[in-house]
């Protein structure tokens, strides 16, 4: 996922299509898994990528889920199925 470029870029947001918070949230798990698997998540989910660049709260959730999945191996244990 690209970070917004500079302060003005952050303020204006990306120019492309944007799914909004709810629909991006629906796809966030797929987006993050694809990215962590080394797949072209931004190409597969361009509207999610645009939204994550535009929405600070959803971007924070994206970072959080990414970090959690990276650490998930250390967290697995008695809660697994």
């Amino acid at each position: 996922m690209n970070e917004p470029r500079g302060t003005i870029g952050r303020i204006l947001g990306p120019a492309g299509p944007d799914l909004g918070c709810d629909h991006s949230g629906d796809l966030l798990d797929q987006f993050v898994e694809a990215e962590l698997a080394g797949l072209a998540a931004r190409q597969a989910f361009p509207e999610v990528a645009n939204h994550l660049e535009a929405c600070p709260d959803c971007r924070e959730d994206y970072v959080a889920l990414t970090e959690l999945l990276k650490a998930a191996g250390d967290l697995s244990g008695e809660g697994s199925a």
Binding site: T7, Q30, E33, A54, C55, D57, A64, G79, S80
Partner: protein, 224 residues
């Protein structure tokens, strides 16, 4: 912990595409399964570990008074996430691993709770529009710096003149003062999605107005 949901789980035909662990989770959470209660408890523990991971990761950036409540926040978030997840269990189609899908709800709940707690008791003073601290540091050459300063001044003027009061409030709160959208939504009795829509419309209007003024703004916000 959240009350057991009574809605039926996904049909068996959905399970064939799933990885083994995800299929086991769904099988154990099936309302007809005798050990469903144990599965729900295990799911709660998974969500709690996810929520605690996030509270720990963000601990240093949170106000001290929030730090004392992190475990309560994580527990409540895991409980809320469990309720949402069980309600949406029929929607799970195996597009991601079940644990990834589940963790997502824990993150949504704990992240929103941390934002709200971090801003608890703080006022959003939009009259103090601190545009001056938004100097763009990306530009390196003097001409680009001048362009960026002039574009920023044009943005400030356009926000003041072209946006509706509601758009201006949201725009300045989120993008100038860095108030989380969830916090703006809470104080307006609204939702993140609805507040984001206001912000999105404000940005669209701003881009159009800047174009009318002769600014060519790239997709990443650079003045060209």
């Amino acid at each position: 912990m959240a009350q057991d949901a009574t809605r039926p789980g996904p049909s068996q035909s959905q399970l064939v595409q799933l990885d083994d662990e995800s299929r086991q989770w769904l099988a154990r959470l099936d309302p007809e399964t005798p050990d469903r209660r144990e599965a729900i408890q295990a799911l709660f523990e998974l969500l709690l570990r996810g929520a605690r991971h996030e509270t720990h990761r963000r601990r240093a950036s949170l106000p001290r008074q929030v730090g004392d409540e992190l475990d309560d926040i994580a527990r409540q978030a895991a409980d809320d996430a469990l309720t949402v997840l069980l309600r949406k269990l029929d929607d799970y189609r195996g597009a991601s691993r079940f644990t990834t899908w589940a963790y997502k709800f824990a993150i949504f709940e704990v992240s929103a709770a941390l934002r709200r707690e971090a801003w608890r008791g703080r006022s959003i003073t939009i009259e103090d529009e601190s545009w001056s601290r938004l100097a763009d540091t990306n530009a390196v050459d003097p001409q680009a710096q001048t362009n960026a300063r002039e574009l920023m001044a044009a943005i400030e003027r356009t926000v003041a003149t072209d946006l509706t009061p509601r758009q201006r409030d949201v725009f300045v709160a989120v993008l100038v003062h860095g108030v989380p959208i969830d916090v703006v939504a809470e104080r307006h009795g609204s939702s993140r999605g609805a507040v984001y829509k206001v912000l999105h419309d404000a940005r669209q209007k701003l881009r159009l107005a800047l174009a009318v003024q002769g600014w060519e703004v790239g997709s990443g916000g650079e003045a060209t």
